[in-house]
Symmetry: C2
Subunit: 109 residues, 2 copies
């Protein structure tokens, strides 16, 4: 049962099926926290390639998968390119204030 629209196996779970602990686990890792902060600053999509961190491509893909499974981000494919963005609106519906609060705590250093 592979989704037909996207050839690559990226799945975005319904947020109703996402657990709070899963979200916190996704955020409880420095690299992933950086990614989420980076996406929050840009208020929109960010190209996959523009996420430049000192890690291997496969490692970045791994982290993005975890963030995706936690309902924190979503992917959009355009040809061979890929764009990433936060699911902040939906997330706020499921966990009101959570992402905003975490990000504000993070901003305060």
């Amino acid at each position: 049962m592979v989704p037909k629209g996207t050839a690559k196996g990226r799945e975005h779970p319904a947020l109703s099926e996402v657990d709070l602990v899963t979200v916190l686990s996704a955020l409880a890792e420095p690299t992933r926290m950086r990614i989420v902060c980076m996406l929050a600053e840009f208020e929109g999509e960010r190209a996959w390639k523009d996420i430049d961190l000192p890690i291997a491509q496969s490692t970045l893909s791994h982290h993005l998968k975890i963030l995706r499974n936690a309902g924190l981000i979503q992917n959009r494919t355009e040809g061979t390119r890929c764009f990433v963005s936060l699911r902040d609106q939906e997330l706020d519906g499921r966990f009101p204030g959570l992402l905003e609060t975490v990000l504000s705590c993070r901003d305060a250093h």
Copy 2:
């Protein structure tokens, strides 16, 4: 440099030295989340012995240590007994709204 008041090596870090990711990591585990929720419901101290979960004593002690190191809880010794409570006020000073938001998200199932 062992604290003299408490013979057992329980240390409570200054919240200024606690990292956000550390707090999230501490919360990102089902058993520890249950403990924090349990303490939040009681608005005050809870006796160590009254934290009855289906885990071994040593495991519980381990989880409490992690919560302690993350600045989430504090211990008070009275004779041979031990009482645990949230550091919610201090925590709110360091990470405004964080604990409250997380707990409200948790309450909402």
